[in-house]
Subunit: 146 residues, 2 copies
DNA sequence: ATAATCTCTATCATAATAGTAGAGTATAAG
DNA sequence: CTTATACTCTACTATTATGATAGAGATTAT
């Protein structure tokens, strides 16, 4: 797994929306500003997140973005997989990988599988509700806001 | 961490050399053939591995490559780091990363650190001696050789 | 001498990544 | 019913990493 800027920006944006879950929609402008993301790049990311069913939008005045489901129902792993692809260190342990001619024979494969499993166990065990709580702790200590 | 072909090829090559540790040097030709690696690409990889102190070479007839140290002294993680860089899902948890302005404040950083740690724990706990043993088991079952 | 083998440097093609640009569409408010 | 605000959509672009390929040179056993 490698987290790209796309993925990183998506995660920060979802967290921002989670922090404003019960408020009015958040504009792309504000999301971009707070997380220091190029606005036109974020536009594309948000459209993808919308297609993925993670966020909803409203146009026009008082428009903006909001989460499509509660923060407790969105796991880190879901966003990572959606934006950056499979959680594995190498393609041969991806789901749907068919081309490796000696899957059962390669001494490395089980190791890559182990790495993929341990990573998944971490990112699939954290929801954005958890991160909201964590962030509020951090914020109170360090006056940081996203 | 993402394993590239360069890294993958290097790992397979080191394992091949480990399997022939007490024999005469192995030629690039044979290494490339057995692991199905483009020979000119493997040449470069081997020169790098030599610079890294992992392998030694002999030129001329009866030339070839051999490990510079016993398989028990080479860990998977060493080769991965040398060929593909740091074991972390994102740059902000790399050693020597200086630019992140709010390291202590980002809700994600400790998660990436956890992922890096759990991955390191796996790949730094396996030597090529372990893989040699494992491969011999696999080989006896499936008649596979590398 | 020569054949086999490693050594070194340069070059190249493709794809992924990280954006940028600009015209279009919907909506709240006056 | 116009206007300002904000999301939508498609196309384009620059840079870098990746995965090679090419060819001339150096070394060594026989």
């Amino acid at each position: 797994m490698r987290i790209t800027y796309r993925g990183d920006y998506a995660l920060k944006t979802i967290l921002d929306l989670a922090l404003h879950y019960h408020n009015s929609p958040v504009t792309i402008h504000n999301l971009a500003l707070r997380a220091d993301i190029p606005i036109k790049f974020l536009e594309q990311i948000l459209l993808d997140l919308k297609k993925g069913g993670f966020v909803e939008s409203r146009r026009g005045k008082i428009g903006g973005y909001m989460l499509a489901k509660p923060p407790s129902k969105i796991k880190l792993g879901q966003i990572i997989r959606f934006m950056d692809g499979e959680i594995s260190p190498i393609a041969c342990v991806d789901n749907n990988y068919k081309r490796c001619s000696h899957i059962s024979k390669c001494a490395f494969r089980s190791i890559w599988q182990k790495v993929a499993d341990s990573t998944s166990r971490i990112v699939d065990n954290i929801t954005f509700e958890d991160l909201v709580k964590k962030n509020k702790n951090l914020t109170s200590k360090f006056t940081y806001q996203i």
